[in-house]
Amino acid sequence: MLTQILIAGFGGQGVLFAGKFLAYKGLFENKEVSWLPSYGPEMRGGTANCSVILSDDPVGSPIVSAPDVLIAMNLPSLDKYEDACVPGAKLFIDETLIARKIARTDVDAYYIPATKMAKDAGIPTLANMIMVGKMIRETGTVSFEGMEDALKKVVSAKHADLLEVNLKAIRAGYDYEG
């Protein structure tokens, strides 16, 4: 099994954080993993993305150019990566921020009002983890169990209070039927 995940959005949406979480989750499930961020000035307010690869075999190229899974947190990201996805890929789209539907017919799309859900739930910065929750539900790439161990690796001890809300966000996404 090899899953190539691309998470893309604006800087500040927690794109890199979501990717790190998935990489740790994979590591704890004894998968081979890699995480590669975009870097540079684009991180500051521009677009941000990261490649996450989860695999049973050692990871070759860490660059995801043809995603099996795309999490698109804004319109420019969907515009940029929709065509790059492999046939049969699963696309997760934050429909609060992306008004359009996808054009492709050979992939599966899931529309989640993640930004609105996060706002309504009082966790406005955690749309990213709502998306991750839904992605886990629909792909089964990593297990829903043991989220906390992986979260502890990406949420610093200083901000231990954020564990709970992250779990809440993942669960909200996981449970979202839409």
């Binding site: 590591l27 081979e32 860490p62």
Partner: protein
């Protein structure tokens, strides 16, 4: 077994250096390697080490020269334009036979270039870089694990041969996270009777120097140093051979491009093309013998590089130009895709 942790390549270098007994780091901020400096800034004060943000790359490498003169493990890191500035000091360190580690997390060039990954400092790293007759031992990691392991190896080789070593990575390797088991290092101190630690009024003074005003003395020193380089070439070549047993074609790639090429090699094998890969781990000394041997076996080579074609010259030399050598390359921060490599393999087969 030690714990597997997820780390950025840059951080793995820093932590491995500390494990290798390096307690002195001098640097200057430049993307995409600044995590090394940031990591050292955090860690060094807590373990009684030195972190110093120098006024320039030039000052940083000369601080390295100072610490190396005193016989301590020491390093600096930078990215391409900054490494150009360090060349003066690197030449002096080589000319004074001092061990030190220089890390280059490459970005696109020439000039200010860009900040995205590149391998276009291959010539600079392997052919000298600064003035005069000298070499660096150049190690090219292709995983975060190797970023850590080869950092330790670089310190060991530098001490063993009394010469500077370079870790030549790129922006991708520096920024990516992978699981890594940090090496446990036996930090038994290496005897350095030549170091300038003060005579303690017990021995004649030691002099760390690269100046020889008498040409016959300088010539003699250069010949002696090249004898040392010959030993390094004989003993320290490292490379990975992948699917080469029955290969009819050979991809040569290092660092990130080797990772990408591996995907292409596997894809080509699925199409029935008998292709393998030689991944130099030491870029200097270059695995010349391995390439020469492959030249007897394969019909052609493909050099995959993030440059306009630099390592390809060494592949041609090592293969004695007996086989065609094609180039698959992107530059300026663009990265080759497995598909592009595969297409070039097809081209090689069609020759």
């Amino acid at each position: 077994m030690a714990e597997k942790v997820l780390m950025k390549g840059n951080e793995a270098i820093a932590e491995a250096a500390i494990k290798a007994g390096c307690r002195h780091y001098f640097g200057y901020p430049i993307t995409p390697q600044t995590e090394i400096a940031a990591y050292m800034a955090k860690r060094m004060p807590k373990i009684g080490g030195t972190f110093l943000q120098a006024e320039s790359e030039i000052a940083a490498i000369n601080m390295v020269y100072g610490v190396a003169s005193a016989g301590f493990r020491v390093m600096t890191s930078s990215s391409s334009p900054g490494v150009s500035l360090k060349q003066e000091g690197i030449s002096y360190i080589a000319g004074s036979d001092l061990p030190a580690l220089i890390v280059n997390v490459q970005r696109g060039g020439p000039g200010l270039g860009g900040i995205q990954p590149s391998q276009s400092d291959y010539f600079q790293a392997t052919k000298g870089g600064g003035h005069g007759d000298y070499h660096l031992i150049v190690l090219a990691p292709a995983s975060v694990q190797e970023m850590a392991d080869l950092t330790v190896k670089a310190f060991d080789l530098a001490d063993k041969y009394r010469c500077p070593a370079m870790l030549l990575a790129d922006g991708t390797m520096g920024q990516m996270m992978e699981p890594v088991v940090l090496p446990e290092v036996d930090t038994a101190p290496v005897e350095k009777p030549w170091a300038v630690t003060g005579t303690k009024n017990a021995r004649p003074h030691n002099i760390i120097n690269s100046l020889y005003l008498k040409p016959d003395q300088l010539e003699k020193t250069n010949f002696e140093r090249y004898e040392k380089y010959r030993q390094i070439e004989e003993n320290e070549v490292m490379y990975e051979s992948f699917m080469m047993e029955d290969a009819e074609y050979c991809v040569v790639a290092f660092g990130i491009t080797a990772r990408i090429s591996k995907n292409a090699v596997i894809a080509a094998r699925k199409k029935g093309i008998k292709v393998g890969m030689i991944r130099p781990i030491t870029l200097w000394p270059f695995p010349t013998d391995a390439i020469a041997k492959a030249a007897e076996q394969v019909k052609g080579f493909l050099s995959v590089e993030l440059s306009m074609g630099q390592m390809i010259e060494d592949v041609r030399l090592a293969s004695g130009c007996r086989r065609p050598v094609l180039l698959c390359n992107r530059t300026g921060g663009m990265i080759v895709s497995p598909e592009e490599v595969l297409a070039k393999i097809d081209e090689l087969v069609a020759l």
